[in-house]
Symmetry: C2
Subunit: 230 residues, 2 copies
Amino acid sequence: MSNDIYRTYQLQPPAHLNDIKTTVICPATEKHVKKYLLQETYLVEETGEDYRTITLPYIQSQSFSVQWVYNILEKKAEAERIVYEDPDQDVGFVLLPDFKWDQKQLDNLYLIAIVHRRDIKSLRDLTDMHLLLLSNIRKKGEENILKRYGLAASKLRVYLHYQPSYYHLHVHFTALSYEAPGCGVERAHLLSDVIQNIQMDSQYYQSRSLSFPLRADDNLLSKFKEAGKL
Amino acid sequence: MSNDIYRTYQLQPPAHLNDIKTTVICPATEKHVKKYLLQETYLVEETGEDYRTITLPYIQSQSFSVQWVYNILEKKAEAERIVYEDPDQDVGFVLLPDFKWDQKQLDNLYLIAIVHRRDIKSLRDLTDMHLLLLSNIRKKGEENILKRYGLAASKLRVYLHYQPSYYHLHVHFTALSYEAPGCGVERAHLLSDVIQNIQMDSQYYQSRSLSFPLRADDNLLSKFKEAGKL
């Protein structure tokens, strides 16, 4: 290929420049194997109506336990890991390091803000009733990460997942330099965008089509297929 | 390293399994060299006003060459690489593989749709005047990727960058399974979201604050700093 100043070639690097770091797990359980198996994913485009008729009934039928979240909020577990808390029951939250972060360096900083309110499942529940909560999380989350870790707001990516991995509202704070799993545009929603969208239209997240990836073995994907939506 | 069931090794693959696709840029400007150096990045939040007073004057003052884009549109270069073309001068575009994709497997499929119109610099210029163009790119881009590569729309991530790396409107089509560079929420905007946002408010992308990362050595970052915006 050749165009203007650009040309492409195939190269073969010499062996000594070409070490590959390999991890061997032996013996491996079924669970290990599954973790590393490439799972096909599908992008689903969920309308507001799809949420109410497919996703919401599915979430409710599963009654996923979030007891571990309540344990954190009630200081029955991980109390010593909490970096900051705003105890207000309406706009308050707990900020703590995500399990994926070893806290050894800032390059892959990863914290989670978990709200005290227990009535917000996900992005889909947010309206202008929650603007104070969302602004509070952004402001105090950023302030306290700066205070504790010296990392400024301009070095952070602050976002929600949709679908989330558990249905109790939480916000991700990751180092901008870190390509965190799940920070792709198909799953992440910047908190700053969420706030602006709700300011413009309180029903933004009830009325909009939202796209998200689902793994082939996810039961929610089967529900969408059954409904003829994929 | 050895710990319980885990062990790490250094491997060297045989040469024939180890082609590296290389792009040579010659002559390269200072800007090309910078693009490939590891750099600190900062998240900038650009209001609509910031765009008009800081970013737009900067883009205009730089007069970045997009001659290579015009070469493609005029079939003066890469004509044999074109996968699909809609020649309409208003809603048409050219679809071709991105340089980063070697076209050997679908896992990292990466195509770019480049519009024929030459008057749209980026997301910031889009209004309801461009809805037909955007829908056309989505529909025909997806149809032709299915036809040519057998990959369905549900396996694709279709998005724009803001800031883009060149100011002539183009849309990225990447395999959903591929964590393509630049598909993070801080830079990518799903085409499906862009279309919905403009349908809701024609001025959405002129009035909204948009966040994006800038490298420490990017002159646009200096402009934001000089304006006291960072």
